[in-house]
């Protein structure tokens, strides 16, 4: 049943997404949402589909954001080359961190990613070109290959939406490829996968690098959307946030991370004016609730519910 319904649902959402500027919703907010959804999907590639919990993924988001923003402001690069450079930076960082972290599993893997991302944070704090606590400000959006200017929020929105859809499809292809099947096998039973002859290390590393690169893409786009790159992008709290997004939405699903990102970003946006500091508390409470009771996440629970319905009907 769900196999037939899912493409229809995606189509509906796509239409809605295309109409967003007409609905009067603040485009910058939706773009932020899309960037974080991309970040969450990239993260879930690792968490949900490969079974690796990274505790320092903000390093990839932020390093690409800084790289892109610096290239655009200080070096006057074009928009698209700067984005590609940002992705390259996060991919390289992903290779380095991944190569070290993959040697261990579970808790130790998480700890290594935590430590290495802290190093990235402090480097960003001290380095001259990142502007330290001030960040890189006043980043212009430029244009797509000199043809389509991106100053207007509407133009930028469609650009980000297009990239998001492409990324989403890309992740879908990865998971349904033979490579993706091996990842899932490693997640479910690593010793058996090893005994079947698969190169575990190589698969994990490739997954890690892909996740880092897509996270970097999200970071670069976000930097251009908002016009700045700051320390918040590489901070530990952002790493925590991106763990929560797939957790809320459902780690075993494709759309779960997007829903999770939607919930968190909307919370932060609309609650921060009304309840101020309680946003952190609410997020913490959701974390606890999700782990204790809703381990399958919103989408996971929905699928299970629907599955149960069809079974009894």
């Amino acid at each position: 049943m769900s196999a037939r319904l899912t493409p229809i649902l995606y189509a509906v959402l796509l239409v809605l997404a295309v109409c967003v500027p007409l609905l009067g919703v603040y485009p910058v907010f939706v773009m932020q949402l899309l960037c974080f959804a991309m970040f969450a999907c990239a993260y879930n590639l690792l968490l949900g589909f490969s079974g690796m919990l990274s505790f320092g993924h903000a390093a990839f988001l932020g390093s690409a954001a800084y790289a892109t923003c610096w290239l655009v402001t200080a070096q006057h690069w074009g928009t698209v080359p700067a984005i590609l450079a940002g992705v390259a930076v996060s991919a390289i960082l992903g290779t380095i961190i991944g190569a070290i972290a993959i040697r261990r599993r579970g808790i130790y893997f998480a700890m290594i990613t935590l430590a290495l991302s802290q190093i990235v944070y402090f480097v960003c704090l001290e380095a001259k070109f990142t502007g330290g606590e001030n960040g890189i400000q006043g980043v212009p959006r430029g244009s797509v290959l000199g043809i389509v200017p991106l100053q207007s929020d509407i133009a930028m929105y469609y650009f980000v939406l297009a990239v998001f859809v492409l990324v989403f499809l890309f992740i879908y292809r990865i998971i349904h490829s033979p490579f993706g099947q091996v990842l899932k096998a490693i997640r479910d039973n690593e010793p058996r996968a090893t005994s079947l002859g698969y190169d575990i290390g190589r698969h994990k590393l490739v997954a890690f690098i892909l996740s880092a690169a897509i996270a970097g893409l999200a970071g670069s786009l976000k930097g251009l959307v908002l016009g700045f790159a700051t320390l918040s992008d590489v901070q530990q709290s952002t790493s925590g946030l991106v763990i929560l997004m797939p957790l809320i939405g459902g780690t075993g699903t494709f759309f779960g991370p997007v829903i999770g990102a939607g919930v968190i970003i909307t919370l932060q946006q609309y609650l921060s004016d009304r309840v101020g500091g309680w946003v952190t508390v609410i997020i913490g409470a959701i974390f606890v609730a999700c782990v204790m009771a809703f381990r399958r996440g919103v989408v996971g629970e929905l699928i299970a519910l629907v599955g149960r319905k069809t079974k009894t009907s």
Partner: protein
């Protein structure tokens, strides 16, 4: 189905939000983006919001037939929050003017958004002089004081008093760096020497290891290029380590709220530069009493600056006959500011609000006769002397 319900609820919520923001669209909206919970929260904070309201009340509550309303938010000393909120209020809430900042880094980020969105931004509390130099633009005004005037006041007084060799404990962001630079220039110009410096992150709670480095430098003066809670903690730690026995501790930016928190026993003798003092004359005392009745203590210089800036803006809107940013900015540059905060103040082409500054010294416990009777004025600097000549770094105010 389930997805259908979700989208419907979302649509309803969105419409509600849109409807709410429509109600305010016809008002004249003043936004306050400031540090409400961090190291600078006591300097302006909630008292600043009160000051804005007092100004609106004194102005009459409405301008050009429209009601005046206020929006506030806490930027938590994060440039991304300050800049995002600025942009959002400009795009979505039709804000007409934004004031505040406190944190130089956040203020620079906000002033860039001011230029992008063409919304006047009056920076109060932040000290970094780059706001009217390298980072200047046509929509930014720097109101209360800046690193140039602070250094001209405090550093000059100290070096002339015999304190020749300086070591700096600097807050590690735009403000600290610029304040250290300004003070260093003054020290050298007056025959002193800058021995070294150490940088501490904003909001550091334990300054001991930085102070140890200061002590090791052998300088006569420990210049604190930080503010708010950082200054208070540096002074307390300096006391704990007995730094005062070998070095003179100088707070390059100190507020009356710091003196109050430290207590006169600890703070006595500190030399500070301030733009305003509540006990200066009858007019200031009357204003302070009004403020204190609402807030519980007399206003600090920045809170009064909030009052004055709000009035200046509303006067400019009235004179321009419109809320159009370009016309209002033109009026603001023409305006003469004469209120409880400043007499004969004016806004220069680069955005600095030129007005008199005072070098004061903190009284000893014996000299203080009443609560908050903390300062004795040592000297007055005329505006042009305090803020110095145009540097030429701002394209809007070339050197003549």
């Amino acid at each position: 189905m389930k997805f259908g319900k979700m989208t419907l609820t979302a649509a309803i919520a969105l419409t509600a939000v849109m409807a709410a923001s429509q109600a305010m669209a016809d008002d004249v909206i003043i936004g306050d983006i400031d540090d409400l919970s961090g190291p600078y929260a006591d300097v302006i904070g909630k008292g600043g919001i009160e000051a804005i309201n007092m100004a609106i009340a004194d102005f009459g509550g409405s301008v050009l037939g429209k009601k005046i309303s206020v929006m506030t938010t806490d930027h938590q000393n994060k440039p991304d929050i300050g800049a995002s909120k600025f942009a959002e209020w400009a795009d979505q809430n039709h804000v007409n003017m934004i004031l505040g900042g406190s944190n130089t880094g956040v203020s620079i980020a906000m002033s860039k958004k001011a230029l992008e969105k063409k919304v006047p931004f009056i920076a109060i509390g932040a000290a970094g002089a780059s706001l009217t130099n390298q980072d200047c633009n046509a929509y930014t005004i720097h109101y209360a004081y800046d690193t140039t005037s602070l250094a001209n006041g405090t550093a000059t007084a100290m070096v002339k008093g015999g304190a020749k060799t300086w070591f700096y404990l600097t807050a590690d962001y735009a403000f600290g760096t610029q304040l250290q630079e300004a003070a260093s220039k003054v020290v050298e110009a007056n025959g002193g020497k800058n021995v070294g410096s150490v940088r501490a992150p904003l909001g550091t709670s334990d300054f001991s290891s930085f102070l140890v480095q200061a002590q090791g430098s052998g300088a006569q003066v420990l210049g604190l290029a930080n503010a708010g809670a950082d200054t208070q903690n540096s002074i307390k730690a300096a006391n704990e380590f007995g730094i005062g026995k070998t070095m003179k501790v100088v707070a390059l930016l100190g507020f009356i709220s710091d003196v109050n928190a430290l207590g006169l026993k600890t703070a006595q003798g500190l030399t500070l530069t301030t733009s305003w003092y509540w006990d200066a004359n009858d007019e200031t005392r009357k204003f302070s009493k009004r403020f204190a009745d609402k807030v519980g203590h007399p206003p600090g210089e920045n809170q009064t600056a909030y009052y004055s800036a709000t009035l200046a803006y509303l006067n400019a809107v009235k004179a321009a006959g419109t809320t159009d940013s370009d016309k209002v900015m033109a009026e603001l540059h023409k305006e003469k500011i004469n209120d409880v905060y400043a007499k004969g103040g004016y806004i220069r082409a680069d955005g600095v609000m030129i007005h008199d500054m005072y070098v004061v010294q903190v009284k000893t416990p014996a000299e203080s006769k009443a609560p908050w009777d903390y300062y004795k004025v040592i000297s007055t600097m005329k505006g042009e002397e305090a803020f110095g000549p145009v540097t030429g770094l701002c394209k809007l105010a070339p050197k003549s």
